[in-house]
Amino acid sequence: MRTRLPAFLLLFQLCFLSACSDIKPWVKPYERSNLADPIMSLDRHGAAGSYIHHVYQAREGARGAEGGAGGGCGCN
């Protein structure tokens, strides 16, 4: 498995790089009204969204990749 995984990832990477250069964007600007709706935002609550990350960082052993600002109160 240790040898197969990097090979798979290399293949994925080649496909990805190929996609960057050959494939054209498949969702046209006039088809993006749903994507532009505020309910499709990954971070809808700004500062309030950042705060909830503080809460989890202080009470859980995991950290990072929250998709928002880091930092936090470690109030025990």
Partner: protein, 412 residues
């Protein structure tokens, strides 16, 4: 007390994207273990795609975002304001700053086991700038956080770029933090040095869906203990059968988290977001996070949302609820955050959005109320406040908490 291992925030830096940055990033990725094969590959793909032809992007909207936050549970009550302001200067620059306060009243199980209830306040300031050049946004910032026994300073730098007809976005960031850990009524002072490496990629999949991947590696070096926390060890001489001594942590920590997110616009006007995060680190903790969010607008002003989040982790290698004797091992900790446990969150929110014209010079005004119920259940952290049990046989600890967020967001 700001936890020493926590993230650095944000801020102004003069760090440039240069060879040494990439060299350091690659070196880190190649020395931190197996799961990072994926990040190496994605990084290479990301850096290559970054060189693609680009067009114009957009700066963040001018905003004033004010939040009152409160956490109440497990003997802790923490509340205060969080204000974030963004203001653009011309068409290429946007400045931002935030002010954040935690007013803490603490009587948690950890505090009551070895000390008495206390109150304290933490204040945090930040200043940052975003610079737009075509489709690239370069951001930098500085954050300062202070308590009576803790000072944290951090700087950060990041680059974000849209490409592939705006269907794709990539961003990477680097942050550096310096903490000074003190102890009340003593001249105790220790340092922590921290580096954070972030890489993110998001992609529009269809006209109704998009996804994102984020990878973050954090390294800490220095005094990573909480200087007040103590571990428990067997002492048969004492009536209760155990005693306490100050914890001993390793002086380094490296962690990596990778998160996958997907957002889907339902056939009617509503959206659903799913998220999974895997976490691993040099202390032996492995964690899984699952998050599901449903957002449902009602008319053009009201929006309702519901959320479920589940988290579980394994313990740190040097965690024990009770050690066999004092100084039993090189590193010893009894922080419940380092034990094996799980928690879940049930959240509910409601927002009301005013249209344009509600106030002069205001384009959008949104008021939100968000409520989250959390339940924590520990697998090997025992409740020492329960008496009449032999040492190490007390009931397992659990607690619940409510998080309230009331916010006003104003775009101008």
């Amino acid at each position: 007390m700001l936890k020493a291992e926590q993230g650095a925030g944000v801020a102004v830096t003069r760090i440039l994207i240069n060879k040494s940055f990439f060299k350091a990033f690659f070196k880190l990725l190649t020395t931190v273990k197996p799961s990072l094969n994926i990040s190496r590959t994605l990084l290479l793909a990301a850096v290559t795609c970054l060189s693609l032809n680009v067009q114009a992007g957009t700066l963040p909207v001018d905003t004033v975002d004010a939040v009152f936050h409160q956490y109440d549970g497990g003997g802790m009550k923490i509340n205060g304001p969080f204000v974030l302001v963004r203001k653009s200067i011309g068409t290429q620059f946007s400045l931002n700053g935030h002010y954040y306060v935690d007013s803490v009243s603490a009587a948690s199980i950890d505090v009551l086991a070895t000390a008495s209830e206390y109150t304290e306040e933490r204040t945090e300031y930040s200043a940052g700038v975003d610079y737009l050049h075509e489709k690239t946004i370069i951001s930098a910032g500085y954050t300062n956080s202070e308590e009576n026994d803790f000072v944290a300073n951090s700087v950060f730098f990041s680059v974000s770029q849209d490409f592939f007809g705006d269907l794709s976005k990539i961003n990477f960031g680097y942050a550096r933090g310096w903490d000074e850990v003190g102890k009340i009524e003593s001249d105790f002072s220790k340092d922590v040095d921290r580096q954070i490496f972030k890489l993110g990629f998001s992609q529009v999949l269809t006209k109704n869906s998009l996804m994102g991947v984020d990878i973050e590696t954090i390294t800490d070096e220095g005094y990573l203990n909480n200087p007040y926390r103590q571990y428990r060890f067997v002492d048969a001489v004492l009536p209760k059968g155990y005693d306490y001594a100050f914890e001993v942590y390793p002086e380094t920590r490296t962690t990596t988290a990778i998160a996958l997110r997907a957002l889907y616009y339902l056939p009617y006007r509503a959206s659903i977001k799913g998220e999974y995060r895997f976490f691993t680190g040099s202390w032996g903790i492995k964690a899984h996070t699952y998050d599901l969010l449903y957002v449902h607008p009602i008319g053009s002003h009201w929006t309702l949302e519901g959320r479920y989040r589940y988290y579980s982790q394994t313990q740190a290698d040097f965690y024990k609820d009770i050690f066999t004797h004092e100084g039993a091992e090189d590193h010893m900790a009894r922080d419940k955050e380092l034990s094996t446990f799980s928690d879940y969150t049930l959240g509910f929110g409601v927002s009301y959005e005013f249209g344009q014209g509600v106030m002069p010079h205001v384009n959008r005004l949104k008021i939100s109320a968000l409520f989250d119920y959390m339940k924590f259940e520990y697998d090997n952290f025992r409740d020492v406040s329960q008496e009449d049990f032999a040492a190490g046989t007390e009931p397992l600890y659990e607690f619940d908490a409510w998080v309230t967020r009331l916010s006003v967001t104003l775009e101008y």
